[in-house]
């Protein structure tokens, strides 16, 4: 209980610091603030994706349904963080470049991730039977794993050459004020903790459901 409160306090402190304490990047102006929301969400969604895939592979190797709980839970939460990242990124793009969507490489990668998550969850919803669902979803997850490196490296090559983006790389500037990086790291830690906490709830719920069904039998 105390940890939940601590976590919320942590994140709240981070948001406050982001708005009140950390400075603004000159080029970006007030839109810098989105960084504290958008960047951690994007990192966490990538983390969630990796977590889901690893557990999918583990399920196929070991057939322990806990791995499936992890895979499905991470996908659900990853989708949530992905939507957050996409929307916040889109709002930022509007403020910075005038258009909500530009198909620049990062936006495109996040969008593809969103598509894969959505497809994975749609697939799960269409399968009856616990073990069958776990198995087929895990197979799809492993196929998606093959796809991802291509999407991350294809996208810049194909689309970047079509739509050169003068602002690409701006977000990777090394000489950003350390206070900004601190708040960003703080928020990333907070979001990651939030993700794992929610995931643990989901996994426990899955285990309890299975035990309850066994008990009823």
């Amino acid at each position: 209980m105390i940890w939940k409160v601590f976590l919320f306090a942590w994140i709240a402190a981070g948001m406050l610091a982001g708005f009140l304490w950390a400075p603004v990047v000159p080029v970006l102006g007030a839109t810098t603030r989105v960084f504290y929301f958008h960047f951690p969400a994007a990192l966490v969604t990538t983390l969630a994706f990796g977590w889901s895939m690893v557990h999918s592979a583990l399920y196929l190797a070991r057939r322990d349904l806990t791995h499936d709980d992890h895979a499905a839970g991470a996908a659900d939460l990853g989708l949530l963080f992905c939507v957050v990242a996409t929307i916040s990124g889109s709002m930022w793009a509007r403020a910075m470049w005038g258009a909500y969507w530009n198909w620049d490489p990062r936006e495109t990668s996040v969008f593809f991730l969103l598509l894969i998550y959505a497809a994975y969850l749609a697939l799960r919803a269409a399968i009856d039977g616990e073990t069958r669902r776990a198995r087929l979803a895990a197979i799809y997850s492993c196929v998606a794993f093959v796809t991802v490196p291509f999407l991350i490296f294809v996208v810049p090559r194909i689309y970047f050459s079509l739509h050169p983006d003068p602002l690409f790389g701006r977000r990777g500037k090394p000489d950003i004020d350390p206070r900004i990086m601190l708040v960003a790291a703080w928020m990333f830690a907070g979001f990651t903790a939030l993700f794992f906490w929610l995931l643990s709830l989901r996994v426990r719920l899955g285990r309890v459901e299975r035990c309850a069904l066994k008990g009823m039998a």
């Binding site: 039977g129 073990t131 069904l213 066994k214 039998a217």
Partner: protein
Amino acid sequence: MSALPAREAVSAVATLSARELTHRYSPRRGLDPVSFDLAGPGVTAVTGPNGSGKSTLLRIVAGLLRPSGGSCVLACEGRELPARARRPAIGLAAPDLSFYEEFTVGENLSFAAEARGLDDPRGRVRESLERVGLLARAADRADALSSGMRQRLRLAFALLHQPPVLLLDEPGSHLDDDGRVMVARLVGEHAERGLVLIATNEEREKTLAGHAIQLRGRGVGDPA
């Protein structure tokens, strides 16, 4: 009736054992844990009320279904066969076994023989059809068969590759008296050289077996 052609002697040592073998489809449906040890040649019946998991057990033995718990070990000629390697050693005839409707009886079996990599596929198909009395219907499309003929086709399919282990799920279903006599004959012939498992509730089929594995619906099954 023509004499059966001489064939290479099949090593008869096939053993099948299960330890706490179980499978759950849902909380209320499945196979309760069962353990047994069988050694061929011989005939064993698998009996039990509806829903006790007879078909499930056969599917697990055939390597088609991965059980949710327990173990099932099949060994032929001393070599243990993991589930994915059981195909050549198993012949299964079950009610849910369907064939390609757009192909003839002969084409279905030829396909099976070719996919299995059998020598002389045509000869084996002929032989198999002869044994079940379907030779006259070899050129009929599978969708034109009556249910009794389909059952004979299933048996022909199971016997096609002379497997050491024969798994029959309700082999007499849809068959007339001649058909049941044929099944008894096939089982008898096969039992001289290999292991036969018959899942059934029919008294006539139970008597073909030397002993039985009894599956109980809501409890633990144990060998008779």
